[in-house]
């Protein structure tokens, strides 16, 4: 809210009834009690007027600026968390590499003649293998984190969005079919090509399709829709007949590390990566969900990104 100077005519305006009341009451010689009653009434009026003004001002702000602030807040939050986690991931990578190396060296030692015939060797060897496997899992996570934080500048070239979606759907189709999930494509014919980063867009679509099939679990539908939105944007919608997202989770799903998957199964980075990619391309990703009915993610992308995004333009 803008700061206001404490005294001005308009500020005094609501107090006018009180001032007038006092001014009128004094010459009439009204008793102190009546004077106070009138004063209190006047103050109450002032109070109410002020509250009403404040309220309508807030409503106005909510209508115009709030959504934008929310988007900005999310972007800033993601950037901050990204930087922090990249720092941590980087620091953890080195000790991880050493642990892995040492474990491998111990495996090599166990194979020497010295340990031949020792009963526990196989068990030791298996333990070390497990350690190496778990280190690799940690490495996977730190890699994802670093990837998430890296400011990958999009490389802009002409992309046929429908074809891209067909390809990614084909990648998901087999596993989906095994679970009785139908992948439906509703792709607008004659969709113009969009200037975007093709592999990044593939990553986004794949993530959304994967989330959707995971949510449906068994026997349901996942639908990908494309359509022109206005003259200079297009929309990609990935919707599912899954369980939906509870309203209290909805504001958090784009946060890094937010996941409802069992421990060890999801990093909760999928959607925050998608969010980052789409924002960089000058687009927006939003979600609508109804518990018990399903979820729909909508991406809105400009056909051409604003100036200054990415390197060059493909010849298409």
């Amino acid at each position: 809210m803008t700061a206001r100077s404490p005294i001005s005519i308009s500020n005094l305006l609501p107090y006018l009834p009180v001032i007038l009341l006092f001014a009128a009451a004094a010459p009439l010689g009204l008793s102190c009690g009546v004077l106070w009653a009138l004063g209190a009434f006047g103050l109450a009026v002032v109070f109410l007027v002020t509250i009403r003004r404040l309220q309508s001002r807030l409503e106005e702000q909510a209508k115009s600026g709030w959504l934008l602030d929310e988007g900005l807040r999310q972007t800033q939050k993601l950037a901050a968390i990204g930087q922090l986690s990249a720092g941590v991931a980087h620091e953890i990578n080195n000790p991880l590499a050493i642990i892995r190396q040492e474990a491998q060296w111990m495996q090599t030692l166990l194979q020497t003649d010295h340990f031949r015939g020792v009963e526990e060797v196989k068990e030791l060897y298996d333990s070390l293998r497990e350690i190496i496997q778990q280190v690799d899992r940690c490495k996977e996570i730190t890699h994802n984190l670093l990837d998430f934080a890296r400011k990958r500048q999009p490389v802009i070239q002409g992309v046929a969005v429908n074809k891209l979606i067909e390809d990614m759907a084909a990648l998901v189709a087999k596993e989906a079919r095994q679970k009785g999930i139908k992948i439906i494509l509703r792709l607008a014919p004659d969709l113009p090509q969009v200037y975007a980063d093709a592999p990044q867009l593939r990553q986004v679509i794949l993530n959304l399709l994967n989330n959707a099939t995971y949510a449906v679990q068994r026997n349901g539908e996942v639908t990908a829709t494309t359509r022109l939105a206005g003259k200079d944007s297009l929309e990609i919608i990935v919707s599912d007949t899954g369980p939906g997202i509870p309203p209290e989770d909805l504001p958090r799903i784009f946060d890094p590390f937010f996941t409802t998957k069992p421990p060890g199964q999801g990093t909760g980075l999928g959607l925050s990566i998608c969010h980052g990619i789409i924002e960089k391309l000058g687009g927006r990703i939003t979600v609508a969900s109804q518990v018990g009915q399903g979820t729909a993610f909508t991406i809105r992308l400009p056909l051409k990104p604003r100036e200054g995004v990415g390197g060059g333009r493909g010849q298409g």
């Binding site: 390809d167 990648l171 099939t213 390197g311 493909g314």
Partner: protein, 129 residues
């Protein structure tokens, strides 16, 4: 003109020989490697524009190879080749910076189109467009 240099990496030698023949027939400059290890050795000797990389290989698999390629020659664009598409490896591959996925059996025209787009991306990144 398609004047880019391609490496195809696949442990299935029948497939490898056939696809190299077909690509050569389309005047593509192409080299084959039968393992991830071999691919990295070749890559150390010279640069390739586009790599077509099988996901499932014994020893160093496609994902592992992709990670190394992107570490050593990040500008090389990699198209992953997959027999039984697995979502898991798909997501991993895209995350690691693969350009695209192609499914076996490969439609040659489609593969060529994807290679052209991958090469275009490489040129843009090198600032040559």
């Amino acid at each position: 003109m398609d004047n880019f240099k391609v490496m195809v990496v696949d442990d299935e030698l029948d497939f490898l020989e056939t696809i190299i023949k077909r690509l050569k027939a389309r005047k593509i400059e192409v080299t084959g490697a039968e393992s991830g290890q071999k691919a990295l050795e070749l890559l150390a000797e010279q640069d390739y524009d586009v790599m077509v990389l099988d996901v499932k290989m014994p020893g160093m698999d496609g994902i592992e190879t992709l990670r190394e390629v992107k570490k050593r020659k990040p500008l090389t664009e990699v198209i992953m080749l997959t027999g039984h598409a697995s979502v898991e490896s798909g997501i991993q591959g895209m995350q690691l910076g693969a350009f695209d996925y192609v499914m076996k059996p490969v439609a040659l025209d489609e593969l060529l189109e994807k290679m052209r787009q991958a090469y275009e991306r490489k040129l843009i990144q090198e600032g040559k467009v």
